[in-house]
Amino acid sequence: MRKKELKLVVTFHTTADAMAMEKACKEHQAPGRIIPVPRAISAGCGLAWCAALEDREQIVSMMRMTGIEEEEMHECMV
């Protein structure tokens, strides 16, 4: 297994929310990708958005702008 790094992990209530996130990130050129929710996080949806910590501000402001709701926002080893 590859070495884990501290990352930003955003979880969602539903798959639809996760898909809305992926689409918005693509449109607004926000970095990151969909990953399965890590076991350490208890989340509603099985899909999460994973990005580098330094991208947090950009991602959060993009989410506010587009009205995408997260379930939780974590910083964890992924």
Partner: protein
């Protein structure tokens, strides 16, 4: 074969729809069940389908688009999930059994039901609906277009009235979605129920509903959602709340392609062509002796349906003769609209329905007119 049974299902689909289903069947995983390319491709197409449907129906949030198997499932979810014993609900004689049977079922369990009368031309008066309202009236549920006569029902006046009185407005758009403009915000629709395989030109087994934000429907089904696995209850967030079990991803891929087709070709253009064919047929048959045409043709802004009988012939016999003698596919019998037949006086005879698609041609319509003329002359 001349296919004139498009109100049952639009048999001819755009090639893009067929291609999309075939591609999906060799590449699509289960949406929201795992993070792999196949699963994500399903999730993406399904989400994009929600967005396109939301846009088509003037909704505010794609997450309020619930994907189901058909209008019947959508109507059952809405009717059974919003009404309780003690509530009062208003509907019309125009309705299909997909509305009436859930209502009769609830009526037996203590919901009271008022059915607004239709005249002999298949029209009802909104004033009758207004007069039927009581303190405990919870819902008005009605069709946007009769599957039997093709009569179009204006939704906005009903929606505005319902909203003013705090009554939920549930619409059966089986015959109109994908053909007529529908705007849930402007028309004050709380739940819009539609099928994917008629005017939307998608595969059978697709359909859905748009639920206004803030309208909470008790789920009809509970089960796997791919989310909140350890919760004992169905998630409350939309659209997952109303979508237990694997969605019809392959079918939805086809519906997705159909929505793109409709956006590219324009539903106004498609509707104009269908109505042109309907008018051509109507003008051709309306004055034939022994032919009775049902419905309101004062306006041609109606669903592309012409329903008729020849003399007192059994409608099934006429439909069979059209098929075997002329290769024309129509529908006969009861059309799952028992009260509409009662209003038209055709319970015993049934009726022969000709319904048109923009893919039909003038020549096909002319052949159908000729066939009706010959059968009517034969009857004499």
């Amino acid at each position: 074969m001349i296919y004139l049974d498009n109100a049952a299902t639009t048999m001819r689909k755009p090639q893009e729809v067929i291609d999309a289903v075939v591609l999906a069947m060799s590449s699509m995983g289960n949406a929201g069940r795992g993070v792999n390319d196949a699963s994500l491709s399903a999730s993406r197409i399904i989400y994009d389908t929600r967005e396109r449907l939301c846009r088509m129906f003037g909704g505010t949030d794609p997450r309020q688009v619930v994907l189901t198997c058909n209008s019947t499932e959508s109507l059952n979810i809405a009717i059974r999930g919003l009404l309780s014993p003690g509530d009062h609900v208003i509907t019309t004689m125009l309705e299909h059994n997909s509305v009436l049977r859930p209502l009769y079922d609830l009526e037996a369990k203590g919901t009271s039901l008022t059915i607004i009368e239709s005249d002999k031309r298949g029209r009802f008066d909104i004033e009758d609906m207004k007069k039927a309202v009581r303190l405990e009236t919870k819902m008005i549920v009605c069709t946007n277009g009769s599957n039997l006569t093709g009569n179009y029902v204006e939704l906005k006046p009903i929606g505005e009235f319902a909203r003013e009185h705090g009554i939920l407005f549930v619409v059966d758009a089986s015959q109109t979605a994908g053909v007529f403009p529908i705007n849930v915000e402007e028309m004050k629709i709380d739940v819009l129920c539609f099928t994917g395989h008629k005017g939307l030109l998608g595969p059978q087994g697709t359909g859905g509903m748009y639920v206004r934000e803030g309208v909470n429907i008790r789920p009809l089904k509970a089960g796997g959602t791919g989310v909140q696995t350890y919760s004992k209850t169905q998630p409350v967030q939309m659209p997952t709340a109303l979508e237990a079990g694997t969605l019809n991803g392959h079918g939805i891929a086809g519906l997705h392609a159909a929505l793109i087709y409709l956006e590219e070709h324009g539903i106004d253009k498609i509707r104009a062509r269908e109505q042109e064919l309907m008018r051509r047929f109507y003008e051709g048959v309306k004055d034939i002796e022994n032919v009775t045409v049902y419905g309101d043709f004062d306006t041609m802004d109606r669903c592309a349906i012409v329903t008729l009988n020849i003399g007192d012939y059994d409608s099934s016999e006429v439909s069979d003769e059209l098929l075997t003698g002329y290769g024309i596919s129509t529908r006969s019998g009861g059309h799952c609209a028992p009260l509409m037949h009662k209003a038209l006086g055709t319970v015993e005879q049934g009726a022969v329905r000709f319904s048109f698609s923009h893919y039909n041609t003038d020549e096909e319509v002319d052949a159908a007119v000729k066939a009706v003329r010959e059968l009517a002359a034969d009857e004499e």
